[in-house]
Symmetry: C2
Subunit: 133 residues, 2 copies
DNA sequence: GCCACTGTATCGCAGTATCGATACAGTGAA
DNA sequence: TTCACTGTATCGATACTGCGATACAGTGGC
C-alpha cells in the first residue's frame, strides 16, 4: 500500500466527516497526487488512523465510487479508477458550472442587469486576486 | 389591511415553509410590490390562509426583521420598514456577491485559470439568455 | 479449508430542525 | 376595564442526519 499523507479532518466542523474525506480525496485525484490504479487504505485502516468508524470512511468511498472516481472490490480493496484524473477534473468544472448557473439565476430572478453582473464578477475576481497575492 | 396576492407555498418542498415565506416577501419588497410602511397580514391571518401554524409565519417575519426589512410591534402588527426597498436590493446584491465569491473560490481551489473561468461565465450567461428567450 | 484481510448491511443512539398545540403577554378601541 | 386583536415563548411530536457498534459476506494467500 502506498504512503498517503494524513487527511486533515475536523470532527467539530459542521461539514460531515465523510464529506471532508471525499472532498480531500477528490482534490488529490484531480491534482494528480493520487494516481489511477493506486490502492487506497482500507476503510478500517483509514478509520483507525483517524479514530472514526469504518462506515464513515465507507460512506466517503461510496460517494466517490458513484462519481466514478473509485472502484471497489469486496475482499480486495478500493482503487482509484483508471479514468479518475480526467473525471475528477470534469467533475470539478461541473461544480463550478453549477455554481455559476445558480449565481446567474439569482441575479436574473431579481432583475440585476447582465452588465452589472459582469461588473460584479470582475470586482470579486480582483478582490480574490488581491487576497491571494 | 391591504390586499396581498396569495403566497405560493409548497409544503412538500425540502425548503422549509418559513424560508419560502421569507424569500417571497423579500422578493416583493425588493420588487416594490410591497411598499415601505405597509402593514402585513397578522401571523394568524397568514397562517390560517395557508393552513399552517402561526409560529411558522412568525419565524419568517423574524428572519426579515433581523435583516431590517420588517419592523414588528407587539399588539399592533408587522410593517414593512421604511428603508426596506433599498435594503432588500442590497441584501440581494450581497447574496449574489457571496455566490460569486464561492464560485471563484471553488475555481481557484483546483487551479482553474482565470481566463477559463471568465470563459465559463460567459458561456453560462449566454446559455441563460437562450433559455429565457 | 483456514484465516486474515477486504467491503457491506443492520441497528440504534444522539443531535438538530421543522412545525404544530397551547399558553402567555402587550396594545388599543369601545 | 374589557375584549379582541396583535406578536411571543414553551413544549412536544416527528423526521432526518451523521456516525458508531456489531454482525455479515466475499477474496486470496497459506
Amino acid at each position: 500500500m502506498n504512503r498517503h499523507s494524513r487527511l486533515h479532518l475536523e470532527p467539530a466542523s459542521p461539514i460531515p466527516i465523510y464529506l471532508q474525506i471525499a472532498e480531500q480525496l477528490r482534490h488529490r485525484i484531480a491534482a494528480g497526487t493520487l494516481l489511477p490504479d493506486t490502492e487506497l487504505p482500507s476503510v478500517r485502516a483509514l478509520a483507525s488512523e483517524h479514530l472514526i468508524n469504518p462506515n464513515t470512511v465507507a460512506r466517503a468511498y461510496l460517494e466517490l465510487e458513484r462519481e466514478g472516481l473509485l472502484s471497489k472490490r469486496r475482499g480486495t480493496g478500493t482503487y482509484v479508477s483508471t479514468s479518475a484524473t480526467k473525471l475528477a477534473a470534469t467533475y470539478r468544472v461541473q461544480a463550478v458550472r453549477d455554481l455559476l448557473d445558480k449565481t446567474i439565476a439569482a441575479a436574473a430572478e431579481f432583475g440585476l442587469p447582465r452588465k452589472q453582473l459582469r461588473q460584479l464578477f470582475e470586482d470579486r475576481l480582483s478582490a480574490a486576486k488581491e487576497k491571494s497575492a
